[in-house]
Symmetry: C2
Subunit: 285 residues, 2 copies
């Protein structure tokens, strides 16, 4: 089997797989690139993970994920920043172990409102401060901090960064080693999305493009409502062409949080997403 | 009992009540104003409904709702426009029957993507066209068309108007008898919301302000996740002060879609929302 050369399987799509199993499924589907998650790396240790990646011959398209830095000053915030520095080091190590064309990109999810807080503006300012504090460390490690706006339905409990425009502003303020993630699932509804993709491109800030579809009705756990491209409501043509026109030439991940998808054999899922990519996304590249 | 003089009970908060029952609950809680829904009006006929309203001495703060005009040209679209003209007439009749200070405001929900369509841009253009077609009719009836942006999580299946900025643009394009609804539940996450409220005010376009809280976790049916102000994550101070500063002086509705709220006695719900309004919203007026 072979897959589109720019297609990358994000490991969250085969959530229950170990890193070795995810690599095997990726290879069996003829996919050349993988988006790695920190938890399966931690399960075996960074050294073992980098060896697996190096031996695989796959590219690494990103490491997911850092962030979660909306806490007020104090031990929780200090711990979050320390953890993000470790994530930056892991990103550099894994991308360095990956095949040529790997991207040292750390995906960042901002975090939600601190428990009991309603200060959305303040939480967003703390994200800005954290990015500013981390950017020099990322720059020296050769890593790009990729701020991912999450769908506004996650603003309270998961990510106070809700639009692509807001993410671009944060990345620009942080410095040259920060960028944004364009994930179709999170941004497709935005009346301003095509202009913001163009703006991100003109500023050289698109660090990652992820494709995933929006299904209805939303499931009981809205985190798990993501679909294989082509199964839902998103028109991947205009978004993909906008990302291409914005100058993004990197790997494109498919990241699907979906309990039904997670329950299936990993190689079957890898193959199906590669086929969906070829059918729904690749024609616009 | 008495409630804040600007508080209005939106009838959706006591969804299962007849118009007579909703009026009774509103009066028992000392609330002076009611936001009416079309279905309970249709249940008894417009003439009977206007008599009930006139006899009640209550103000009418809005009629919910028209809209749902994203269909392509054809019988469905024609029927939608005809239905909206009837809704405009109903709005004029009910506001005319209400006490002095009633607002002839028809709340409009855009509608989602037509079945099988992924053309979000096209659906949004059809909303623009429909508003343009209806505005002269609304103007001659003395009715304001109030475009309500719905939370982006409803973009696929309920409302392709997803941000306040987009709603303002649509209202401006439609003409002077169009405005917007600012519903905290739908707009609170928007990094641009305070600026857009100010813009709507400077353009004289705030037709309605509705307060409702964002709860987590979202329930299985995300339509029903709305909470009594103060029970969730929204900071009502900045939003309410922005609406005040923008010059809005009308009634403020509490509209809660929530199965637990709906299951309770109507007068108890009316009283609780009036208390919540007094505690969480009124201090900022």
């Amino acid at each position: 089997m072979s897959a589109h050369p720019r297609y990358s399987l994000n490991q969250a799509t085969v959530k229950h797989a170990s890193l070795a199993e995810a690599i095997a499924a990726t290879q069996e589907a003829g996919i050349e690139s993988i988006g790695v998650w920190r938890e399966p790396v931690a399960d075996i240790g960074l050294d073992a993970a980098t060896r697996l990646i190096a031996d695989s011959g796959l590219r690494v398209s990103s490491l997911c994920r850092g962030g979660f830095f909306t806490a007020d000053d104090g031990p929780e915030r200090t711990a979050a920043l320390d953890d993000n520095r470790r994530a930056i080091e892991e990103t550099a190590a894994l991308a360095g172990a990956g095949a040529e064309g790997s991207a040292a990109v750390l995906v960042l999810v901002a975090g939600g409102l601190p428990a009991g807080s309603r200060d959305l503006v303040g939480a967003r300012e703390r994200v800005r401060d954290a990015l500013g504090a981390l950017e020099p460390f990322a720059a020296s490690a050769g890593v790009t901090l990729a701020v991912e706006p999450l769908h506004p339905m996650f603003a309270a409990d998961r990510a106070v960064v809700s639009t692509l425009g807001q993410a671009i502003d944060l990345a620009v303020d942080a410095g040259p080693s920060a960028g944004v993630v364009v994930d179709t699932y999170h941004v497709w509804w935005d009346p301003d999305v095509l202009q913001q993709i163009a703006r991100a491109g003109s500023l050289g800030r698109i660090a990652s493009y992820q494709v995933c579809d929006w299904l209805t009705p939303l499931p009981a756990d809205v985190l798990l409502g993501r679909g294989v491209p082509g199964h839902g409501h998103i028109d991947f043509g205009p978004l993909t062409r906008a990302v291409v026109d914005a100058g993004y030439t990197g790997d494109i991940e498919c990241e699907i949080f979906n309990a039904d998808v997670w329950a299936r054999p990993y190689d079957e899922v890898a193959g199906e997403t590669a086929d969906a990519f070829a059918r729904v996304v690749a024609p616009h590249l």
